[in-house]
Symmetry: C2
Subunit: 190 residues, 2 copies
DNA sequence: TTGTAAACGTACCGATCGGTACTTTTAGAG
DNA sequence: CTCTAAAAGTACCGATCGGTACGTTTACAA
């Protein structure tokens, strides 16, 4: 466990970027809020962008692990886990420091499609859809690629709508829609 | 048509903000890209934030008018207009200068829920859902509030996914899901 | 042609930006 | 205690930030 200081920096910077935005957060503010000197920061990361990319990478791993762990905790039976993904989302939206999806925000601030931050974000969304498809497969559903794509749209839409006003309504709509769409992908259906 | 110069500023600044982001776009860059002097800018708007808010307001009106006009053009029969909203989205995603939803990006850069930019964005999304509900009503469907909420999630999700890689896949998934969800809201259903 | 108001260009303000140089303090190992 | 390496602190760099002051040019109306 050597690089604890570096990990601590990434972890704290991650929270500040998440709460305050990337461009809007200056390095001096990071010094203030993390308690880590600028000298150390620039020893670990050559540029601010490098630090941002490290934060996004950690966030990607952490978020997907957290999500899968919450699914597992709420529903241990694998064939029923697809049914609880919007309960996990609801937990996320209801957490006091929920501020939307970090990757949607990263893509909003780094718009060039070939920017590393943009690519990490796209990959994160792709991996989430892959995970949803895996849950659909374990639920014994058919045409899981199409279903996962559709549920992915509901998830992203719910994240957006949760940021604008009523998160409860977004979760409710998403849950209802997900049940209808999933029912259309049962092996006996069309 | 007196205030042409001011409108011209808003129109051009809107495009630069849309393409380049809000914080990432400086006033000097706006002078360069719009050809309007900084003196004039600050005569029309006291602060950069005021200019941003004016841009968002214009964008809100323009986008909703554009969207409704395209729906009308693709399908004049009102009872069938709900079926073409993803064709209009497809047009938008396919336009060469598509860079996502300006209001999602505004909410990403101005995170405080009571920030005017955030509130304008939330209101825009709300008005879009209202419009979808109106189309659902004209299509003779039932429980239009729930259906509009669900279709709204699909729309926002498609916008997000279109920014990350394959827009065509997002439109295809959204169209399929929308048909299933709409069918569940026909007056003979459920 | 003159008067007038709007727009322009330029130079500038203090503050902050990302990033660097250099010295001092801390902490753990021998 | 001493040596060493890491971290901190401070002061600073040029560039850019949002915003202002002020004199010049444009364009149109009388």
């Amino acid at each position: 466990m050597r690089p604890s200081r570096r990990d601590e920096l990434v972890q704290k910077a991650l929270q500040v970027f998440y709460r305050n935005g990337f461009h809007a957060t200056g390095m001096d503010q990071l010094v203030r809020e993390t308690g880590i000197s600028k000298t150390s920061m620039y020893k670990y990361f050559q540029t601010k962008d490098d630090l941002i990319l490290a934060c996004l990478h950690v966030r990607d791993v952490q978020f997907r692990h957290w999500f899968a762990n919450r699914v597992e905790a709420l529903e241990p039976r694998r064939e029923h886990q697809l049914g609880v993904i919007f309960d996990v989302l609801d937990e996320w939206f209801s957490s006091p420091d929920f501020k939307g999806c970090m990757f949607i925000k990263a893509a909003a601030e780094f718009q060039e499609p070939d920017h590393p931050a943009h690519m990490i974000s796209a990959r994160h969304k792709c991996l989430m859809v892959d995970y949803i498809q895996d849950l659909a497969h374990q639920a014994g559903l058919v045409r899981t690629r199409a279903l996962a794509g559709q549920l992915g749209l509901l998830i992203e839409g719910a994240i957006i709508m949760a940021r604008f006003g009523n998160a409860a309504q977004a979760v409710k709509d998403a849950r209802t829609a997900a049940k209808i769409l999933s029912a259309a992908h049962e092996n006996d259906g069309s």
